[in-house]
């Protein structure tokens, strides 16, 4: 078989596995990606993994998609990135589609409704935990705290469109970094 085609197929299979076996998504996926692509397949190096994390953090979209596209492109060009991305998406797409139908059928059962009443309170704790780890990773400093507080107030109380807040914060970060750089130069 054509060597490139073989790699494209391998990429699809590998990322299908990664998509199938990571729960929670996001950073939970990184260790498995590292194991499969660096240790098993030797497609990329540990340095590449660090690069991928850095890129994934500063580009939009889910980390799983970002890293699948990036690794796929590195290993086998455009079609590699298509295969890897398709592979990582397919398991969760299929599973959720199946669950959606089941969920709609079972939602009317009393026990299921009670279960979800409990679950809703528990899930909030999981989101709180995610919020806490994002807070720890965010830059510390006056500008950063002001942005956190303002974006919270704008959306929670003033009901300003989330998209506007994101664009506003991106501009604030850009402008404040330019101002800081000028100060350092002087």
């Amino acid at each position: 078989m054509d060597k490139k085609l073989k790699r494209v197929i391998q990429l699809f299979v590998t990322f299908f596995k990664i998509g199938l076996f990571t729960f929670g998504g996001g950073y939970a996926m990184i260790p498995l990606i590292q194991k499969e692509t660096v240790e098993t397949k030797k497609w990329i190096t540990d340095d590449d993994i660090l690069e991928i994390i850095a890129i994934a953090e500063s580009t939009p979209g889910p980390i799983a998609i970002n890293s699948a596209t990036f690794v796929g492109y590195r290993v086998a060009g455009f079609w590699g990135s298509v295969a890897a991305t398709f592979g990582v998406v397919l398991p969760s797409f299929t599973i959720i589609l199946a669950i959606s139908f089941v969920l709609n059928e079972f939602q009317h059962i009393k026990a299921v409704q009670y279960a979800f009443e409990g679950i809703r309170a528990g899930v909030l704790a999981l989101i709180f935990k995610a919020l806490w780890s994002m807070y720890k990773k965010a830059p510390k400093g006056a500008v950063s705290y002001v942005i956190m507080a303002l974006s919270f107030v704008c959306v929670a109380f003033l009901k300003i469109n989330v998209l506007f807040v994101i664009i506003g914060c991106a501009l604030t970060g850009l402008i404040s970094s330019v101002v800081l750089r000028k100060k350092v130069q002087k």
Binding site: I96, G122, A149, S151, C169
Partner: protein, 186 residues
């Protein structure tokens, strides 16, 4: 046309969320509520489902909302929409990685976006808390019901477990069990 609307809405969500996991929650919450696609309670229920199934949250929620609104083809449109921006952007970045890595503009923008994500998830969590604990609007009335305090208890216990690194699926199962017990006993 609903399919185009699903595709474009999730395209926007995919293009404007930075950082993985729940970074997408604020935009998704706003979009589904604004379009009236699913209710806030159903959204929280689904977060629990997403935590207990493999794959990234972004793909899971896109597939679910797509299916609820427009069936299987709807879920394809939504998933494609949420994946496409990061796919295209990573392809571009992979080609000129060195320039991207050193870019002061990108660093500046990220210094504004990282704290913004914290504030935005905080705002989403705030509104979800209100929905779960005060489903009929904020008042003192629920404080006299046992259900309210059971929910608070589940939230507190789940929070403790989450920070003790108990697996999310166990937390969800535990919350479900307490929910069922409460439903039949109280």
């Amino acid at each position: 046309m609903i399919y185009l609307e699903l595709f474009l809405t999730f395209l926007e969500i995919g293009a404007f969320t930075f950082g993985g996991g729940y970074a997408m929650l604020p935009l998704i919450r706003e979009a589904v509520l604004l379009h009236g696609w699913i209710e806030e309670e159903a959204l929280i229920n689904f977060i629990a489902v997403s935590e207990s199934t493999p794959g990234p949250f972004a793909i899971n929620i896109a597939t679910y909302v797509g299916n609820q609104v427009g069936g299987v083809f709807g879920s394809i449109c939504a998933t494609l929409g949420v994946v496409l921006p990061s796919f295209v952007i990573i392809l571009i970045v992979a080609k000129c990685y060195e320039k991207f890595k050193e870019s002061k503009t990108v660093k500046g923008i990220m210094s504004g976006l990282k704290p913004a994500v914290v504030g935005l998830i905080g705002a989403a969590l705030f509104s979800l808390l209100l929905t779960v604990f005060f489903p009929a609007g904020v008042s003192f009335a629920p404080l006299a019901t046992a259900g309210f305090w059971v929910s608070v208890g589940i939230f507190a216990a789940a929070l403790l477990c989450a920070f003790k690194k108990v697996h999310p699926i166990l937390i969800i199962l535990g919350s479900a069990a307490i929910g069922i017990a409460q439903g039949y006993l109280l």
